[in-house]
Each structure stands twice: as C-alpha cells, then as structure tokens.
C-alpha cells in the first residue's frame, strides 16, 4: 500500500501559539501554499486550558485569558484561510523535509515541504525524572495534567494538595485548586528561589496564605493505592536532604511543577542538533536549525515564561521561512553567540547577517544561572566590550533579553563570536 504524498511550500508542526503566529507571519509574507498540523482536536495548544488571565500584556496591551489570547490568532488564521488540520499527529520529519502524519480522515499520509517549522511546544518533567522515592500510588500528577482535568474535563484530582516545584503552572494550580475548594497545604521548592514569575508567587500563593518552602523537597511518598501523604525535608547547599528536618504532610494529591522539556523527538529524527543548555535546537537569528529549511520556534526551541514572546519569536521564524522558500538567504558574516559567566541558554546560538550595513537589531534571549541583584549584563565581541547594562534584578525564573542594535553590529564588523556574561561589578573594557 503506497502512502499519499503532498507537495507543500511550508509545513508547520503544531497549532499552539508558536505555530499559529508562524503561520500568520509566513502567510502575510506571501506564502500561500502552507499547512499547519495539530495533534490535538483543537487549535491554540496549551493556552486553551490556561483559563486564568495575564496573557497578552506585552503584545495586545491588555490582560487576556489563555483561550482569549488563542482566539485572536485562531481568528486571524481563519480570516487568512490558512489550512489547519487538527487531530493530526506528525510521526516523522526527515532531514529532506518529508513529513509523515496520521489522522482519522486521511490515514497515513506524507508531505514534501520546501520548509518546515517545528512548533511542538514542551512537556512537563515527570516524577521519574526526579527519582523521588516512595510508593507508586495514584494521586501524583504533573501540574499541567491536573490543569487539564480541572479546566477542560471539569474534574478535581483531589482534596488535599502539596505542590512540588514553584514553576508557573504549579503556582497557577495552587490558586485554581484552592478556588475549587481544595486545601493546598504547601508549595515546596528545591532551590532557594522560585522558578516562577514574581507576580504568580504573590497572586497565587501569598494571596491565599499558601506557604512556600524554599530549599525543600519531597523525600518520600506514602500510600499503597491512593496517595496518603508526603515527607518534605530541607536541603543543604548541595541540594541534599538534611536529616531531622522532615515535615509530614497528609495529602491525597501531589502536583509536580518541576520543569518543562522542549519536545524534540521529531527534531532529532530530522537530524536537528539539540543544545544541552536549552534542550531545544541550535538556531541562528532566523530560527533555522542546523538542517537547512527546518526552523524552530516557541517552547520547542526554549521554554518561555510569556506567550507574548513566543508569538513574537514565532512570527520572525515564519518570516524567515518565507524568505527561505523564496530563496533569500543571508550572505553576510556569521557570528557565534556564547554563554559566558552567569548566563545559560542564550538563543539564538549564532547570528547570520546580511551583507553590508546592518539595519535591524537582533534579540538575544537567555536566563541567568542564579539570582543576581545590582549586577552588570555584559556583551563582548571577541573579548572587547560591546555593551554593559546595569540590572536591578535578574532571576532564572524570568527570561532576559538583550538587543544587538545595528549600531553595535556595525561597530564590530570583524566580530566572530559574541559572549554574554553577568558580572557583579562594572566591567572595564
């Protein structure tokens, strides 16, 4: 039995905020022959279960809920008549951009695309990845799964809740479960700082008197069938539990909000190289991976805090893919972008410039490796100081951005490598 193959200019994997923004931008840049494939039965991705507000402040200058934010892009996609195939799971992407997919309507089918944009998003780290000891009872959920049960299915996963990890989804769920009548006993964070947004710590924990245990972790899980309790202990500077510091919590639910992992299994199959710092592809400033014609954007590239930035980044990726399809590729110099002291996961990892004078700036996104206050963000080109910015506060929980302006790029015409670093004192040259 042969597999039907369809030629297409642009194929986008995923109709979450990243895929939709990329599709809209590519379409507006003149790409008409495109398709978006989405494994869920709806567009909008994980936004659809994020019914709290706080989305869109940067992009739309107003506070929207997740579904409201998604609807704006979904409406645009409809107006632009961009085909989005939901309920369609991509099974493989090859380095030659052959994509196989399956759905109920067409069965197994394939596309040959001129360009592919990977926008699969991320998944939550499960319990096993943390090796939390104890029984393997029911009642342990990743926070996002619990959010789906509550917000999309209309069911509560339990009554008495402990949350491990202070990632944003965990914080949001602390509030959500409380509002639905559950008792949230504690939010437990391994690190001495939260990995969530400050506004969520205030609005989701403090406003509801939910204690946050920093430098603590869950060291044992009890309950043979359903969870009956967890043991929490303080950790030392090496993140090892301190004996004698154990606190017992009687609870029937443990939510894990312990990190998100870009979902790059399809990318790996296409031969895309993955950065250990971001768990996403290495890309240039056009969001092209090491595989020609394969682009990546959104949480599959690196985990964002705010969807607004996902949309902005993905629109750039959509424009870049459109240019690639038209045969426009930059012919200027290439600069490597490197993480220096105090900086982790800078994206993009390389910059490809057009020839001649630069006219547009390039945003570099990164996270500090720890909390810094009154520190200096330093950009160096081949060792020479390019930029130093004073920062009041920088935390791993909030992605930071620095822009390489055309002026900066033009001032260092020979730079082959740019390094970002964070210094406690003002750098001298």
């Amino acid at each position: 039995m042969s597999v039907r193959e369809i030629a297409v200019d642009l194929l986008i994997v995923g109709a979450g905020p990243a895929g939709l923004a990329a599709a809209i931008a590519a379409r507006e840049a003149g790409i008409y022959d495109l398709v978006v494939l989405e494994r869920e039965d709806w567009q909008g991705g994980i936004l659809q279960q994020c019914i709290h507000n706080g989305f869109g402040l940067h992009r739309f200058k107003e506070e929207l809920t997740g579904p409201e934010y998604a609807k704006r892009d979904i409406d645009s996609v409809r107006v632009l008549d961009i085909p989005v195939k939901t309920g369609t799971t991509v099974l493989s992407v090859s380095s030659e951009r052959r994509v196989t997919a399956i759905n109920r309507e067409n069965g197994l089918h394939a596309y040959q695309a001129k360009a592919v944009i990977l926008a699969m998003g991320c998944r939550e780290r499960p319990r096993g990845a943390l090796a939390i000891p104890g029984t393997r009872c029911a009642g342990i959920f990743s926070a996002g799964t619990a959010q789906r049960y509550v917000n999309l299915e209309g069911y509560m996963p339990g009554h008495r809740v402990v949350i491990l990890g202070s990632g944003d989804i965990g914080l949001i769920m602390a509030r959500r479960m409380t509002l639905q009548g559950a008792k949230v006993l504690a939010c437990v964070e391994l690190m001495p700082y939260s990995s969530g947004l400050t506004r969520n710590i205030v609005q989701c924990l403090e406003d509801y008197d939910i204690p946050l245990y920093l430098s603590h972790t869950v060291v044992d899980i009890h309950g043979r069938e359903r969870l009956t309790g967890v043991t929490v202990a303080r950790v030392d500077d090496n993140l090892q539990p301190v004996e004698g510091s154990e606190i017992e919590f009687e609870c029937d639910t443990l939510l894990l909000s312990v990190g998100l992992i870009p979902e790059n299994e399809l990318s790996l199959g296409a031969g895309v190289t993955i950065s250990p710092a971001t768990n996403g592809p290495y890309v240039d400033n056009r969001f092209e991976t090491n595989v020609p014609g394969v682009f990546a954007c959104g949480n599959v590239l690196h985990v964002h805090d705010l969807v607004d930035y996902v949309s902005a980044e993905s629109a750039l990726a959509g424009q870049a893919a459109a240019a690639y399809i038209r045969g426009e590729v930059p012919t200027g110099r290439e600069i490597a972008v490197q993480d220096g002291e105090g900086v982790r996961g800078t994206v993009p990892q390389r910059v490809k410039l057009s020839s001649g004078e630069q006219t547009t700036g390039i945003d570099l996104m990164f996270r500090p490796t720890r909390v810094y206050s009154n520190a200096w963000l330093v950009v160096r080109a081949g060792g020479k100081l390019m930029l130093a910015q004073r920062k009041m506060i920088m935390t791993p929980g909030e992605m930071a951005v620095v822009t390489l302006t055309p002026a900066m790029l033009n001032k260092f015409p020979d730079a082959q490598a740019i390094t970002l670093e964070i210094k406690q004192t003002r750098p001298s040259d």
């Binding site: 099974l91 096993g128 990743s142 799964t145 999309l152």
Partner: protein, 483 residues
C-alpha cells in the same frame, strides 16, 4: 465447583493456567490485584537467562534451560516481542575472572551452548561504552529479552480464550480442605475446587504454611530499578551483568525489547512482601553500582524508577509440585525468583500437566491456539500503518505520543479476553503512558476511552483498582462554563 483454582495471576499462575487450558475442566485464576501481572511479573529485568547461573542439578537450572528454549516459539504464537541480543558478565579483577571460569564450567554442565570468556578488546568492540577497566567477560550468546508483563497478559488471554475464569480483585484469605475438596476463602466468597495451586509469589508462604506440616520460608527480596528513555542508536545492544553475588545476579544494564535501557536491581530483604516502594538509598545504590559497568551513565534520560519483590525461598531453589505435608490436591510453584521468568513456560507446562494428570483430565478437544496480539503501531512499517488504518480508522487517532499508541490499540487492550480495566492495565498492554512523559498527555484520553468501553464515570477510573482513584469528583459548580 472448579477442578482447579490457581492462586496468583503472575507469570507463573498464568503459565500454569494456559497449560491447564489444554485439558477439559473448569479452572480459575484468583488474585487480590485487579489485573494480571501486578506483582513481581511487572517489575523485573525481563531477561530470558541462558542458564549459566543456576547451580547444576537444581530445579532452577533445569527449568531455566527448558523454559528459555520454549520462549521464541511461545512468543511468536502469542504475538509478544522477544529478542536474543546476548549478554556479557563483566569481570573487573582477577578474582572475578575465577568466578567467570566457574560460570563457564557451570554453563557447560547445564548445557548452555556458546558461552566463552572474552578479553577487554573484544568486549569494547561489542559494547564501546562499557567501563574500559573491564578485564574479561563471559559472553553468553543465548541470553534473551521479553517484556514480562506483555508475556503474562498474553498467557492470561490465551487461558481465558479457552474458558479459564480470571477472578481478579479477590484476596485469598485462607485455604481449607474439607475431606473431599478444597475451599479457597476469599473476601468475596469461597471457591470450592478439587485442586488448588499456590502461585502466590511473595504471598505464597502463609498459604503454604496454613495447609502443610512442612513449613517454608519465603523471603521478600526487593529490587529497585531505573528505566531510561529509548534513544537511537542504542547505547548498549546486549545485557550487561556484573559477576553474581550471594544476593543474586547483581546490578545489570540492559536494553529492553522496546529499546529502553533498564538499570538495576538492588537486592534488599524486607519484612513486608507488598512494600514495593523505592528508597533514596536503593535508588542511589542502583545507579552507583551500574556506573561500574557504564561510567558515563547520566540520569538525564531517566523516565521512571520502580521496585519489584522477588520471592526468595530460604533454601534457594524453586519449590514445584504437590505440597509436601498437605492433603491431596494441593500444588504449588513457590520461591520463583530469578530465573523464574525464564523458567515460567517450563513450570507452566510441567505443573499444568501434573495437575491435569492428578485430576484425570482429558485433552480439551476444542482447545484454541492463542490469538496473537496485533503488532503495535509503533512497531509497524509505513505500509503496515496504512493497511491497519484501512481496516480500522481508530488507528488514525494517536493517544500516546511518546510511544505512538493509537486509539485502536487502547480499545483492543480493553476488549482483550483478560482486558485492561485500569490506566496501568492499558499501559502494560499498549505502552500508553509508559514513555517519557509518563502519561501526562495521554492519561486523560485513555481515561475517556476506558469510560466509553466499560461504561464508567471518570471518577470510577483507577490507576490499578481498589482505592487508586484518579479524580475525586466533578467541579463544584460552573465546570461546563470553563471548558
């Protein structure tokens, strides 16, 4: 009245049941768990041992060899993946080499073909990631792999297809012989039977001792494991043992039939045979010991950890046959620790035949050969996938993205003769939820299908039966407005 009741729905109980189904009679398997394969049979290394390890002359040695030889054909009939990648037993010092020599000698006495001692150069050519400090290894070409729970579920299906009853979620509380027949006492009523067969694994001791004048001692020996995600190319293609210790075969690093890597087990004797919790110390020890085999081992791709309970009989051998010192009609297969999985087909055959002979049962003329489990979507070629969809459009809807499990397979798992009734049951039969996200994405979908197929409310769906509920109830109010 049943002709025979088997206590325990692990691999041994199911293998005995599948063999008994060859004969005419009324048979049942009873287990306190709500599914088959919920004890040691779901949490072990999944190795089909070649048979070099067991002392010559023991039941372990004899049945291991016999069982391992039965595996390839049995798995083909049942539609269960089986592989024979071979194994290495690694020696890191001269003292260990003497142990290898002894194992080699033992392999010859036991009749294991093809074993040889090889040197470092050859080891590293076969498995480049092995610790380069290795000196020698026993190469065991006949070492195989199976998914123990897939195998157990398939045996149960075959037995059930031939009329064996599976009475699950029924805890056996006692055994009595009333002069003419046996009464198996359970929390949900008694089962009368002519023969009773104790295959209760870690729970076998009290049953045996309640009916026999010759008590046994079963020690619960816990083993903790790590499971790593599948990565291509495979980091290791063979099963890597270290030299065995008094407590067992030591910590191994092995691929599984599905391309994951398994690390473990530890060996700790514990007082409670049902305590399959992992511990901080045990998990540390498993990794620490595995690093002797694989120094560059990283936990980056760990997807889960678990423990299983081996039923170690104090004298160290399998105890199989009629229960000594008990009234007529009592049989057992107890103390079935490693190489119990490897020996299971042989134990099933011998004990099944033995009980049938004792019952005087004739061959079942309407016996049906097993219906092979359909090939998993994740294992299919593109052409096979296209064809599967033509026959059943449910193959077009992906349920588990990590393991590529489709709706067709989840529905099939629930509709099998001993079908899945829980999330874990679906997981063991299809791998939905077995992958890197550990059910984060697929469990709501699997739950929905369970509700449709079994006519359940979502709050009635459990992880593995009993009180292992997933959802406590509907939202208090306004739930429908939120979706």
């Amino acid at each position: 009245m049943y002709d025979a009741v088997i206590i325990g729905a692990g691999v041994i109980g199911c293998a005995v049941a599948q063999r008994l189904a060859l004969y005419k009679g009324k048979f049942a398997v009873v287990d306190r768990a709500h599914d088959v394969s919920e004890g040691a049979s779901k949490a072990n290394s999944g190795i089909i041992h070649a048979g070099y390890d067991a002392k010559p002359g023991t039941e372990k040695a004899r049945l291991n060899l016999k069982g391992a030889r039965m595996f390839p054909q049995m798995c083909a009939k049942l539609g269960v993946l089986y592989g024979k990648p071979g194994a290495l037993v690694l020696a890191f010092n001269e003292e260990d080499k003497a142990t290898l020599e002894a194992l080699l000698q033992q392999s010859k006495e036991n009749g294991v073909p093809g074993c040889m001692i090889i040197d470092r150069k050859r080891i590293l050519r076969m498995e480049p990631l092995v610790n380069p400090e290795v000196l020698y290894a026993l190469y065991v070409p006949e070492s195989g792999l199976v998914s123990p729970y897939e195998f157990t579920c398939a045996l149960a299906d075959s037995a059930a297809e031939n009329g064996v009853d599976f009475l699950l979620g029924r805890h056996v509380t006692g055994l009595e012989h009333n002069g003419s027949h046996w009464m198996v006492r359970t929390e949900h009523g008694d089962l009368a039977c002519r023969a009773v067969i104790n295959c209760a694994g870690a729970g076998a001791e009290p049953l045996h001792n309640s009916i026999s004048t010759k008590p046994v001692r079963i020690i619960a020996r816990r083993g903790q494991y790590y499971l790593l995600d599948h990565e291509y190319p495979l980091r290791f293609t063979m099963t890597l043992f270290q030299v065995p210790t008094l407590m067992g075969k030591g910590v191994l690093v092995s691929p599984t039939t599905h391309g994951n890597l398994l690390i473990g087990p530890t060996a700790e004797d514990i007082p409670d045979g049902w305590d399959a919790a992992t511990t901080r110390q045990g998990l540390f020890e498993a990794l620490d010991k595995a690093r002797l085999t694989w120094p560059s081992l990283s936990t980056r791709t760990v997807i889960t950890n678990f423990s299983g309970i081996r039923a170690h009989e104090a004298n160290g051998d399998f105890v199989i046959g009629a229960v000594e010192g008990a009234p007529e009609g009592a049989f057992e297969a107890i103390g079935i620790e490693s190489p119990g999985l490897s020996a299971a087909p042989a134990i099933g055959e011998e004990l099944g035949d033995w009980v049938a002979y004792w019952l005087g049962a004739a061959r079942n003329p309407s016996y049906r050969e097993p219906t092979p489990i359909p090939k998993a979507f994740g294992q299919m070629s593109d052409n096979e996938r296209a064809a599967a969809f033509e026959n059943n459009p449910d193959y077009g809807r992906m349920i588990c993205r990590c393991e590529q499990v489709t709706e067709a397979e989840v529905r099939h798992a629930i509709r099998r003769p001993v079908g899945a009734t829980t999330l874990d049951g679906v997981k063991r039969r299809t791998r939905a939820g077995m992958g890197r996200c550990q059910g984060g994405f697929c469990s709501p979908r699997v739950m929905q299908i369970l509700c449709e197929e079994l006519n359940l409310d979502p709050t009635q769906v459990t992880k593995f039966g009993g009180d292992s509920w997933i959802l406590s109830g509907e939202l208090a109010d306004g739930a429908e407005d939120l979706a």
